[in-house]
């Protein structure tokens, strides 16, 4: 029973000027019955921390509530490594810096936050982190540039690596490139002879079971089938060229002399570049850039490497014939950074001709040549050019969604992908992450890129994978709740097998038994709490985050009588974007209405609708939910959290109508972290609308 509560109030950073600390102490010791309550002008200093540490060491206190700056700051200072519960109350960014000093409403806000913080602290339980035997072997799938780099990096860091390649030899596509073959050969050799890398060629992953730290990967090889225990997985399965048979409008198929950039690369790697129809040297060639790329009918994206690919291939041609005519028809030449130098150099050759344009047709011409007609050129007209060879610079299609991983997961055998076929991830903040914890995508399997970037990618993904194994070994979550050693527990006796949690978990952490009862794989869990929000029976909880805990915080809010004309608004905000945004508003000293009470949620997807009912039935006038942006360009750190919350609200609105409450009392807003300046307006506007609606009729009931 947590009973030895200690409340520590910092009066530094203008908190003491804005608030009456004595009243706060009175609230803590009186109403909240805290046996220990101290104030200090600089709690984060050695002396301030000493007070707390001393109380902990003398066992005068086992539950610490620190009221001062935002919990996003001074995390190390207030980490006492003691196993005790430490809860932070944000009196600085959310109270003192953004509300009228020495004001009744500001004081009420601070006291409410103190009540809520104490409620939260008292509902937090100490607990042991997960501890199982964790494998520190990294499995890398795909032995191309990316995969080999990932394997070498992990091995260099001292980890055991198993590298699985489906072809006979390592090297991937780069091994068939004239420019890269030699380099890749060297890279492959260093992997082959590395003492910590076990290379399996002609091998495929047939099944993956388990979770980070304990994946059981069944691999079929020429020698049979074996199961490998791996701690984490890097998916570097690369790409295939876009299917050129769909590019008949660009002449593919009308003549053997219309080829793709991949065909040309193979030809150039093997020997001289010849016209396929005659086996004679090529005297003139036309490259069609973006062949089936950046095109709604084909690949909507830019593969980013084809412009440079073409420039390199022109280089091969120049080596064999300095006088050959080379035409390049592009949408835009994309050669960022140093690549621009290559573009300039190639452009400088008198016999290289570049123009923007759209290829209208490719048709046979006299002497077996091909006539290419191009519209909308920079020359001001449509032009026709006759050439020996047409090269279609086709884009990259990721090998990420078919028969790669064969996961024995309830949510499907492969990585969830976005509309373009690349693995879904919060790619702005966490490259390499996928929606399967412990499995990291790298190279073109993740996003289109060239070989140089693929190496960086292999390195990055390897580091993330190693990190994930180490976190698993400590029983901690990976990004974005890195270091969190809580985990969800399921009170399965009350489970109704509705499957909402197993369906909604963005990371596929929950499998099911035959009846549909969730079977948690806790090492896959990212601790977002979406299962907790999904569960209608409220059987999911964390030791430090639960439906009951948030409900207690809501109940701790003091709701003034109707006559006082002080509306109360509850804001449930995402801790990843909206909460830091609100801190920023405080740092910038933006002022807003002091009638709003903010509770951070791990993700808006962990919103359990019972909280809304709790709030409104207690007379709180309105509930504001602030989550990350969702949709195609979502910014949710847990992929779908705010979208799921929005879906759950649909049901709540009906409930509101039944209770004869205006639907306007509930509002969900999407907010990005850089939109902090919109928050004051949002709060003020919402409170104003609540005033207009009049008090919640359930007030005081």
């Amino acid at each position: 029973m947590p009973g030895k509560l200690g409340v520590y109030i910092c009066t530094g950073c203008a908190i003491g000027d804005a608030l009456d600390a004595a009243k706060l102490v009175k609230c803590a010791t009186g109403e909240l019955k805290a046996p220990v309550c101290r104030t200090h002008a600089m709690l984060c200093g050695a002396e301030g921390c000493g007070l707390i540490r001393q109380d902990l060491e003398t066992k005068a206190v086992d539950t610490v509530v620190i009221a001062g700056c935002s919990p996003r700051f001074k995390t190390e200072v207030f980490n006492f490594n003691h196993g005790s519960v430490v809860e932070r109350v944000n009196l600085r960014e959310h109270v003192a810096w953004c509300h009228k000093p020495q004001d009744e409403d500001t004081q009420m806000l601070a006291e409410d936050y103190l009540r809520m913080g104490v409620a939260r602290a008292l509902k937090t339980e100490a607990g042991e982190p997960l501890h199982d035997e964790i494998s520190r072997t990294l499995l890398v799938i795909g032995g191309g540039v990316t995969g080999i780099t990932a394997a070498l990096e992990a091995a260099a860091a001292g980890y055991q690596v198993v590298l699985v390649e489906k072809e006979e030899e390592l090297g991937g596509r780069a091994a068939h490139s004239r420019r890269l073959a030699q380099e890749i050969e060297g890279l492959a050799e260093s992997a082959l002879y590395h003492p910590r890398i076990r290379t399996l060629c002609l091998a495929q992953v047939v099944k993956i079971e388990g979770q980070p730290g304990m994946f059981d990967v069944a691999v079929s090889t020429a020698g049979g089938r074996e199961t490998i225990r791996a701690g984490a997985i890097v998916v570097a399965t690369g790409w295939k060229p876009y299917d050129a048979s769909r590019l008949t409008h660009l002449g593919y198929g009308i003549s053997p002399d219309v080829i793709t950039n991949a065909d040309l690369e193979r030809m150039a790697a093997a020997g001289p570049i010849l016209r396929p129809s005659t086996q004679q040297p090529v005297r003139s060639v036309l490259f069609v850039q973006c062949a089936g790329s950046r095109d709604k009918e084909h690949l909507p994206y830019c593969s980013s490497a084809c412009c440079m690919g073409t420039l390199h291939q022109i280089g091969y041609l120049r080596q064999q014939d300095p006088e050959a005519l080379v035409y390049v028809i592009y949408k835009d030449m994309r050669t960022p950074g140093q690549d621009e130098r290559v573009y300039r150099e190639v452009q400088d050759h008198p016999m290289n001709f570049f123009t923007k344009g759209e290829v209208e047709s490719v048709r046979p011409w006299s002497n077996g040549t091909l006539a290419v007609t191009v519209n909308n050129t920079l020359l001001g007209d449509s032009i026709t050019v006759c050439v020996d060879l047409v090269v279609l610079a086709t884009g990259m299609v990721p090998n990420a969604s078919e028969q790669i991983l064969n996961l024995a997961y309830r949510q499907g055998p492969e990585l969830p992908v976005l509309q373009d076929g690349f693995p879904d991830s919060h790619f702005i903040c966490f490259p390499y992450e996928t929606r399967r914890t412990g499995i990291y995508a790298a190279g073109v399997a993740r996003a289109p890129m060239d070989d140089a970037l693929a190496r960086t990618d292999g390195m990055g993904a390897a580091l993330k994978a190693l990190q994930s194994m180490e976190m698993a070994a400590q029983g901690q979550a990976v990004h974005p709740r890195g270091g969190d050693d809580s985990y969800p527990s399921f009170f399965l006796q009350r489970c109704t097998q509705c499957k909402r949690c197993t369906e909604e978990c963005p990371f596929g952490a929950l499998d099911e038994d035959a009846k549909g009862t969730p079977q948690p794989n806790l090492y896959r869990c990212r601790r977002c709490g979406i299962c907790m929000g999904a569960c209608p029976e409220r059987i999911v909880s964390f030791r430090n985050y639960s439906v009951d805990m948030i409900a207690s915080m809501i109940k701790a809010i003091e709701v003034p009588e109707e006559a006082e004309e002080k509306p109360r608004v509850l804001a449930l905000v995402c801790e990843n974007d909206a909460y830091p945004a609100l801190d920023l508003a405080g740092v910038r000293r933006r002022q807003y209405d002091a009638n709003v009470r903010v509770i951070p949620l791990r993700c808006l997807g962990s919103l359990n609708i019972v909280w809304i009912a709790d709030a409104l039935s207690r007379g709180i006038d309105g509930v504001l939910l602030i989550g990350c942006k969702y949709g195609d360009d979502y910014q949710c750190h847990f992929t779908k959290g705010s979208e799921l919350a929005a879906r759950r609200l649909e049901n709540v609105k009906e409930t509101l109508q039944r209770l004869q409450l205006e639907p306007e009392r509930l509002q969900l807003t999407q907010l990005a972290i850089n939109e902090w300046d919109k928050l004051p307006e949002l709060f003020d506007g919402f409170v104003e609308r609540m005033r207009e609606l009049g008090p919640n009729p359930y007030k005081g009931l």
Binding site: E323, D348, P350, M351, N352, G380, I383
Partner: protein, 388 residues
Amino acid sequence: MAEAVLVQPDASLIREIIAMGGGDLKKCYQCGTCAVSCDLSAEDVSFPRRQMLAAQWGLRDRLMEDPGPWLCFYCGGCTTRCPRKANPGEVMMALRRYLTAQYDWTGLSGLMYRSAFWEIGALALVAALVVLAFVLPHGFGFGLLAQSPAALESVNLGQFAPKEIVHIADRLLALLLGLLLLVNASRMFRALTRGKDIPLGAYLRAIPNLLVEAATQRRWRGCQDHTAASNWRRHLLLVTGYATIFTLVVVFLPWFQVEDSGFHWTSLLGYYAAGILLWSTASMLWDRARRRSEMHRFSELSDWLFPALLFLTALTGILLHAFRLSNWPMATCTMYVIHLAIAVPMLVVEVPFGKWAHLFYRPVAIYVAAVSRESSKGSSSNLGARSN
């Protein structure tokens, strides 16, 4: 959409333009900054972007039909603003060299623009011929002096170089060079007007403008670059000096060439011409040497030779005049030959084959651009239209 044009790049053209100073030509990536920043570029005759592309792609017909290169006065604004350092200003200059060579049916122009050996060689050859003309005959020049030393007692150009003969010779030369130039200019005219249906009336109506343009380079005034006004003034002065001396020599030589050491009023006009020519060409050469403004940053041999020879012509002319007034017979005769050995090669090489020809080509191009604009009013042409 119009019928697609069959494009066959002319490799030799690209190499020739590069050899004539357009070495940065291929760097252009067609952003069009040059054309939009040029005060003189117009929608119907747009430059330099179009010419950059036509040259890059080796499209000879397009360049031959295009008056654009001659409509540019090379302020260099495009070069300054070019994000790719493709130097459009100098490429336009190279194009003018290339076109001058193309208009010339003898092919000599091209040889001289491509090779310093040919250019210097041609000048030296003509100079040698001039000197030989004064050395070889017996009753004339140094031959005469050798026979009758009495001729050296006082300045007597009437014996050394009788003005009747010189006058006939200079008019013959003017006629010959004029004819060559006329042939080249008519080839230019035909190239510019090919495929264009321009009524005779339009040509006639534009003649007054042609004359004004030829005399004053009025179009240059449209350029807002800070260097344009002073360059135009200097050039206009040079034109007046040049026109004065040209008229004196070709029309009024019997009065202008005074044969004894006396003074004649025509020398006053000569002073004007010599003063202007010396100052303006010296200042142009100085600018080229300093390479401060865009126009003067890149100099091919041909850019040096024309002003240098003009300067030397004026210098030797004024020295000849001084020696004659001083009554130094041998010095006068020698300077007379040196003067001609500079002026004649300059004219022979530069008028039909070189930089001098811009006196004709520029006004003709402006003229053709004006008449084709007038005749195409109402009917639209996509020739100058930007595609994006």
